[in-house]
């Protein structure tokens, strides 16, 4: 289907709607961030304020994924 895109989340390929945020895709892939002291964290505010959804996207660190729309072939790392 053309309205779906595939992206790589922590090495795992996930297909989601092309309108989905990267934060949603991470959740669907079962990925969580770890906080600075190692606790599991997921998105909180959903609007780019809290930075809890940050991940490394295509090598760029600290990207707020809740305000980033998925694109085909994106490489997302939640552990960096």
């Amino acid at each position: 289907m053309t309205d779906r895109v595939a992206l790589h989340i922590d090495g795992k390929t996930v297909k989601v709607s092309c309108r989905a945020s990267v934060a949603s895709a991470i959740w669907i892939a079962g990925g969580f961030r770890r906080s600075v002291s190692g606790q599991p964290r997921g998105p909180l505010c959903g609007m780019g304020t809290c930075f809890e959804c940050r991940a490394t996207v295509d090598g760029g660190k600290h990207v707020r994924t809740c305000v980033l729309t998925c694109r085909e072939g994106m490489d997302v790392r939640t552990d960096a």
């Binding site: 600075v36 760029g60 660190k61 600290h62």
Partner: protein, 373 residues
């Protein structure tokens, strides 16, 4: 007044005041520390926390080196939040002239028994892969380090078991007592003024000028930087008298964050971020480390260094009030020199011979000048 009279009142709970409290408490004296705000909220909070041996003058070198040794003695007891980092200082030589300066520095430091290493173009690139290509080389001073100064100040006050009173403004200092904003007085045999730039209001003749600096800090990028990296031109910026200058100076924090400096401005007394100078400072740093441009800066701030005309701190007896001592004017070396400053004062007060010559720092060098005018 509540309680008994302390032997010593230290005015100022920055790093210099905290070290003074520590040094006097070691002598078995009772100490009360007063601060108009909180612990380490002035220049201590604003600075980089770099403990560095500089050699612009013999006196500066002697005090840096003495202080660094005292910091190293404290290190084993430091709690984790002081974030001691043995990051060394990597002086970057952009061209052959600066490389010559690096070689001179090496000769001087080695003669004084300080280990250091001259780096060529290839080895400096290996030491800091994010430096731009084409640099001439540099000098690594591995004995230098960095700390998180506000927590260092808090720790020193806590381990010294001194009486700390915060939110207490001192309005007048006389021989034998200080007056607080609420009109009350605290008597003490010895009073130490560790108030940074604010010392001017208690010692009117001191030619201390505030020198504004900007800093920026990034998000966490662990492994991006290994040393505190400073351009050799920094010395020109720091020791020069120009109204406005910037220099490349970057430090890795224990968190993986990068602390980016530095700027120097005279004649400005507002703490606001000056976007043009912040921009100039960051452009200078990006010239040296192009990859910085893409990193995320999460905060910027400013602070005021207490600078003196001869670039040396003011340590010694108040020119007019007996038993009042001054410890200020450290400019950008307040963290480095805090331990040595405190020990020099404690030695003077208890009548012990200091370990390094104190005369280059005495307040009388300025007061005499003003009296001859």
């Amino acid at each position: 007044m509540n309680g008994r009279t302390p032997d010593v009142v230290v005015v100022g709970a920055g790093i210099v005041g905290a070290c003074c409290a520590w040094a006097f408490a070691r002598e078995g004296l009772s100490v009360t520390v007063l601060d108009r705000a909180g612990i380490g909220q002035g220049a201590t909070a604003a600075g980089m926390g770099h403990i560095v041996v500089m050699d612009d003058s013999e006196a500066q070198f002697a005090l840096c080196r003495y202080s660094q040794r005292l910091w190293a003695e404290l290190r084993p007891q430091m709690p984790a939040d002081v974030e001691w980092q043995a990051c060394g200082t990597l002086w970057v030589a952009a061209d052959e002239d600066e490389l010559e300066e690096a070689a001179r520095k090496k000769t001087f430091l080695e003669a004084a028994g300080i280990g250091c290493e001259l780096l060529d173009a290839k080895s400096i690139a290996a030491a800091e892969p994010n430096l731009r290509p084409g640099l001439a080389g540099g000098l690594l001073q591995p004995g230098d380090s960095a700390i998180y100064s506000p927590c260092a100040a808090r720790w020193l006050l806590a381990v010294s078991k001194v009486d700390v009173r915060l939110g207490v403004a001192v309005t007048r200092v006389r021989s034998g007592d200080v007056t607080l904003a609420d009109g009350s007085e605290i008597a003490a045999g010895v009073i130490v003024l560790a108030t940074g730039g604010a010392a001017r209001s208690f010692v009117p003749h001191l030619p201390i000028r505030p020198r504004k600096g900007h800093l920026a800090i990034t998000d966490r990028y662990p492994g991006w930087l290994n040393h505190q990296v400073v351009e050799l031109g920094y010395v020109k910026s720091a020791s020069g008298e120009s109204a406005e200058s910037v220099a490349f100076n970057i430090q890795p924090r224990a968190t993986g964050q990068l602390l980016i400096g530095s700027s120097r401005q005279y004649g400005v007394d507002t703490p606001d971020i000056d976007q043009p100078i912040l921009g100039r400072m960051l452009r200078r740093c990006i010239e040296y480390m192009p990859g910085l441009a893409g990193l995320s800066v999460i905060r910027t701030w400013t602070g005021f260094r207490a600078s003196t005309p001869d670039k040396l701190p003011v340590i010694g007896p108040h020119p007019e009030a007996r038993n009042v001592w001054v410890a200020t004017g450290h400019e950008g070396l307040g963290i480095t020199m805090a331990t040595g400053t405190a020990r020099l004062l404690a030695d003077s007060v208890v009548g012990r011979a200091p370990e390094i010559a104190m005369h280059p720092f005495l307040p009388s060098r300025f007061v005499e000048v003003s009296r001859h005018d």
